[in-house]
């Protein structure tokens, strides 16, 4: 084995009550691409942020290039040749690319020579790696793919020999991801070391030499990529074998519970986002809406759930119309049996500063069950929250913990538990498993199917085609605000892909 570029020994780190890293050991060989996989909340970002000096470990040792080092600030890490592309970019949004690149690496007080040097360096990096980006562009005007490029340039500009990338492909299109991987391979050929965090196992198999698996704050295994399989990694990640496709029986569709007729929605600029859409959802079936993000799915969901104004059309919930002026009372819709799991749980679904038990009844807090006269019945709420925690395996299982301290997947489960446990007749779910890890995905899918089997009408919108195909009894494809096709669950990825890309739609229009 080649010499170790990095060695982490016995790293521990807690955030309050949460033990994010427990006694972690990791060795990364020089000149390799080392993958780190793990579910959301496993502690991957924390571990790498410790290596980068962003957090300080509670205990443990770090060796770089064989020597023990102390990394107290990012400056120490940079000096040791470590660079990191964070999951949430560390860019100043209203600065130019150039300003972001030189920030902290300027070596003259008046910036003149720094700027000149940065320009020529950026040109060189652009030529060498195909990392093109206009140095004078303002960050917030760049698409995320390019913003990530700036982050990589920042690290390379500082002469990083060890480059850490935290979930870099989450924000990239497939073509951009391919380009990124070519760059990473090129870096490896030049003898640099790359640490790649991801939860997409396909990427791990495609590009890494070695892969380490983390689970709930511990390092559970390290394997040579050649000697492992996606199945084994997935199992290591969640600690048991995962069903990549959930078993489900035939659907028994009943009466129409949700009916959408000629719905048209415009956004604030007057652009038509949903264009004359009609469909029905019956009790006992899951209808999935597939489509590339931004084709009107979000607006459709918002209009149906009464929080966005629709220009025209009609939505019937259990035979009675829904107010489409955008001023519908969500409480009233809830009483009528509509449960809504919004796409954006951080802004719409949860109050992150609240405790878990508060969020687990939010919106239903006027319910008799949770009240004692005019006051909240704290005991009932806590009991209810504990119940949901158990049933939905929400971790950590502490109803008093601030919601912000749960990982994304567990936050999603809090919302799902709240909405599903109210026994709604109609359930609308946006991106049920966005940012959720493999184990929780399976669980959420099972719950959704159980709802269907109880005769509920379920409408699922997701940009993950796999998810739509594995859940839905009927698949509708949305493109440019219209429903451009309907398929059964047996539809192939290819068929749906063409529809999603608008190919058939355009041909039909000609």
């Amino acid at each position: 084995m080649a010499q170790a570029a990095i060695e982490l020994i016995g790293i521990n780190k807690s955030f309050g009550a949460v033990r994010a890293n427990r006694d972690i050991n990791l060795e990364v060989a020089r000149g390799t691409i080392h993958g780190i996989v793990g579910e959301n909340g496993a502690g991957k970002s924390t571990l790498m942020s410790i290596l980068y000096g962003f957090y300080q470990a509670d205990s443990g040792e770090i060796h770089v290039g064989g020597k023990p080092v102390s990394i107290n600030t990012s400056n120490d890490a940079i000096a040791l040749g470590i660079g990191m592309v964070h999951q949430h970019f560390m860019l100043v949004d209203n600065f130019t690319v150039l300003e972001n690149v030189i920030l902290g690496a300027e070596n003259d007080a008046l910036l003149k020579s720094s700027i000149a040097k940065a320009r020529s360096e950026l040109e060189r990096l652009e030529r060498e790696y195909g990392l093109e980006v206009d140095p004078d562009a303002i960050i917030e005007e760049l698409p995320v793919g390019l913003q990530q490029r700036v982050e990589i340039l920042k690290a390379l500009y500082r002469g990083a020999e060890i480059l850490i990338l935290d979930e870099p492909t989450g924000v990239l299109t497939p073509a951009e991801a391919d380009h990124l991987f070519r760059i990473l391979k090129q870096l490896k050929e030049q003898g640099k070391t790359v640490v790649l965090i991801t939860h997409k196992l396909r990427e791990i198999m495609a590009i890494t030499d070695t892969v380490s698996v983390m689970r709930q704050g511990t390092m559970v295994a390290t394997r040579a990529t050649k000697e492992t399989t996606v199945g084994e990694l997935a199992e290591l990640m969640v600690g048991r074998r995962v069903l990549l496709r959930v078993e489900k029986g035939q659907s028994e569709a009943g009466a129409i519970k949700l009916s959408v007729k000629n719905l048209t929605v415009k956004d604030s600029r007057g652009v038509t986002m949903v264009d004359d859409v009609s469909f029905d959802v019956r009790g006992g079936e899951i209808v999935g809406i597939a489509g590339v993000a931004g084709n009107g799915q979000s607006e459709l969901l918002e209009a149906i759930s009464g929080i966005r104004h629709a220009v025209s059309g009609e939505v019937m919930l259990e035979g009675r119309p829904v107010d489409l002026t955008g001023k519908a009372d969500p409480g009233e819709l809830r009483d009528r049996g509509l449960a809504h799991v919004p796409e954006d749980r951080h802004h719409v679904g949860l109050v992150l500063a609240f405790e878990e038990n508060e969020n687990s009844i939010l919106g239903y807090h006027d319910d008799e069950r949770y009240l004692k006269g005019p006051f909240l019945n704290v005991d009932a709420i806590m009991a209810d929250a504990k119940d949901k925690i158990e049933k939905y395996d929400i971790r950590p299982g502490n109803p008093r913990l601030r919601t912000a301290n749960f990982s994304g997947g567990n936050q999603q489960k809090i919302v799902l538990a709240r909405e599903m446990e109210q026994d709604p007749g109609v359930l609308i779910v946006g991106q049920p498993t966005r940012g959720v890890d493999v184990g929780a995905i399976e669980f959420i899918h099972k719950r959704l199917i159980a709802m269907r089997d109880q005769g509920k009408a379920v409408l699922v919108v997701s940009v993950e085609l796999d998810e739509i195909r594995s859940l839905s009894d009927r698949i509708l494809v949305m493109f440019a605000g219209r429903i451009v096709g309907e398929h059964g669950p047996e539809a192939t990825e290819g068929e749906l892909g063409l529809l999603m890309a608008g190919v058939e739609h355009q041909e039909a229009a000609e």
Partner: protein, 323 residues
């Protein structure tokens, strides 16, 4: 010609009245650009004014007074930094506390040391900053138009006035042309970006607050050693707050800040000038109305005429990495 002279006089007092605003506004600009809200401009100006006048009168030197004003004001800025940077406290609460401490301590110390009801002794010549008469100012006074402009508006101010106006281009230069400025703007927008770039967020913010302290110190010294011949209790009279309004109004930009402060200074000068003089059409305007004008104007202008004023994005939020 009479009305021309009147205009020049109003403009002259506009300059005099806008100087403390301008210094305080630029002071606030350093701190807010670095992401620290500073309600305590008022208090820091007040302690500066007191320390300046007290030291000048005891040591018989205007420059020792100025030095003392700056020193004490910076010390108060550091207290604000200790509370809001090191201990991640609420910046508004810390700022308000500083204002209270300043208002109370200046009166108590003033009474204890000088026994003049909270005043400091009247400053003698040499203990104040005198007006600097530019060469030829008297000779050209008679020349129409340019004469009064040169001799009244440009010449005949104290050194602190020239300093205040020189700080405008200087601050612009620091902000947009130096490494310190680049980092300071960055830390006000996204401290995590600064941190991961290997720069200490806390030290950077402390340095910005030192700049704030220096400028509020000079502003205070101007009040007690130039505009007035000594310290009078509560002599800042809300200027720190107007400076904050001007800062928002100026969208945190130095040159805009100068114009905003000149505008407020002008309204102030006008209200003094028009006291008791009936205006055409509207007749006599109550003084209170004119004094309220800067505030009314701020509200109206902020409500729609200057467009959205976007503060530095990390402003007011302590930098906490671990929830």
């Amino acid at each position: 010609m009479d009305s021309f002279v009147a205009i020049v006089q109003v403009l002259d007092s506009t300059i005099r009245l806008s100087v403390p605003l301008l210094l305080a506004c630029l002071a606030g600009l350093y701190s807010e650009r670095a992401g620290i809200f500073d309600i305590g401009l008022e208090g820091k100006m007040l302690v500066g004014a007191f320390a300046g006048a007290a030291a000048a009168s005891v040591f018989h030197s205007a420059f020792i007074g100025l030095g003392m004003a700056i020193l004490i004001s910076v010390a108060f800025a550091m207290v604000h930094g200790f509370a809001s940077i090191t201990h991640r406290g609420n910046q508004i609460v810390s700022g308000v506390a500083i204002n209270f401490v300043a208002a109370g301590s200046t009166i108590i110390l003033g009474q204890a040391w000088f026994q003049q009801g909270g005043r400091t002794p009247a400053l003698q010549p040499g203990e104040r900053f005198e007006a600097i008469v530019w060469p030829g100012a008297d000779a050209v006074r008679g020349v129409p138009i340019l004469g009064p402009i040169y001799s009244e508006l440009i010449s005949g101010h104290s050194i602190l006035v020239y300093f205040a106006f020189a700080m405008v281009p200087f601050t612009w230069w620091v902000l947009f042309r130096t490494r310190f400025g680049l980092r300071m703007r960055a830390v006000g927008e996204n401290p995590a970006a600064v941190d991961t770039a290997g720069i200490s967020v806390a030290w950077l913010r402390y340095r910005a607050l030192i700049c704030t302290g220096v400028l509020t110190g000079v502003a205070g010294a101007y009040l007690s050693m130039v505009q007035n011949g000594g310290f009078v209790k509560d002599m800042t009279a809300g200027k720190g707050y107007i400076a904050l309004a001007a800062l928002i109004f100026a969208k945190w930009k130095p040159v805009n800040a100068m114009f905003a402060c000149l505008l407020f200074g002008f309204l102030d000068a006008l209200s003094i000038r028009l006291q008791g003089t009936p205006l055409p059409i509207v007749g006599k305007v109550p003084v209170q109305f004119m004094q309220a004008l800067p505030y009314v104007l701020t509200v109206i202008l902020l409500a729609g005429f200057i467009g959205k004023a976007i503060p530095p994005r990390a402003g007011g939020v302590p930098y906490v990495k671990e929830r």
